[in-house]
């Protein structure tokens, strides 16, 4: 039975998988980055479909916005060109690729079968108010720790990318 929700899910899932496959097939890193942005936007749509509005917004703003802009920026800064073609060894091409496809299908199938009895619980939109009260009450200590993590990452990135001898 194809309800509108399932139709939307199938479209978004197809877009996400197509983006991920395109990430693998593209040779130029900037095309891979754009494919990854497509995957992230599709996932934001799936979060909305599950009633996680705040996470969907954060996904678009932080992931598709900030992190991917950083990637594109570095690709352009380093002037990264097309990936060199390297020959897959014959073993990898004729044994590895089919085996990994089979393995992927098997994992997806067994996850689908093991969780098929989970009820499709009703989608209740999570209000940002509820989420933030949980975040700032029960998880306030981890939240503060992440600010330290960001600070240290910032300093680390600065120290690493600094040119030698320009103190």
């Amino acid at each position: 039975m194809l309800t509108p929700q399932i139709a939307i899910f199938l479209i978004l899932a197809a877009v996400a998988v197509a983006g991920a496959v395109s990430l693998i097939l593209q040779r130029h890193p900037i095309h891979s980055a754009l494919s990854l942005i497509v995957v992230m936007v599709a996932l934001a749509g799936l979060y909305l479909l599950q009633g996680a509005e705040f996470i969907a917004a954060v996904q678009i703003i932080v992931y598709a916005g900030a992190i991917m802009v950083l990637f594109v920026f570095v690709i352009m800064l380093l002037n990264a060109g097309e990936e060199e073609r390297t020959n897959l060894s014959r073993m990898a091409r004729f044994v590895g690729v089919p085996l990994s496809v089979v393995f992927l299908a098997e994992v997806a199938f067994s996850i689908g079968r093991a969780t098929s009895r989970l009820s499709a619980a009703a989608v209740t939109t999570v209000s940002t108010r509820e989420l933030s009260s949980l975040l700032f009450r029960d998880y306030v200590f981890p939240f503060e720790l992440t600010s330290f993590l960001i600070l240290i990452a910032l300093l680390g990135a600065l120290v690493l990318a600094r040119r030698e001898g320009t103190d």
């Binding site: 399932i6 990430l23 891979s32 799936l46 009633g51 996680a52 990936e83 999570v126 990452a153």
Partner: protein, 100 residues
């Protein structure tokens, strides 16, 4: 209503594609993007279980995963810039000084 298993299968497929990209891609920036793809797949599973179990903690976890991914990509891309500066290549197969 979308069955829960659909979301989890999609999550597994995306994670698998991330692993494939991680192994097959030669450009170090694309390898980083594969890691981001895997993190995204895990986030989808978190959000799905958060909805099914009626617990908000899953979404809080997604929030933290996104924060850690941001920190990781900042440091990682700085390392990429260093590799390009010191070795003049972005090909992971050329970064093999531990082999010699």
């Amino acid at each position: 209503m979308v069955p829960t298993s659909y979301y989890l299968v999609l999550s597994a497929v995306l994670f698998g594609l991330g692993v494939v990209a991680f192994i097959f891609k030669r450009n170090i920036i694309t390898v980083f993007m594969a890691i981001e793809l895997m993190l995204n797949a895990v986030n989808l599973a978190f959000v799905t279980f958060s909805r099914v179990l009626g617990e908000l903690q899953g979404q809080v976890f997604v929030f933290f995963v996104i924060v850690v991914a941001a920190a990781e990509s900042a440091v990682g891309l700085a390392i990429v810039i260093l590799i390009q500066r010191n070795r003049g290549t972005l090909n992971v197969e050329r970064v093999d000084s531990l082999k010699d």
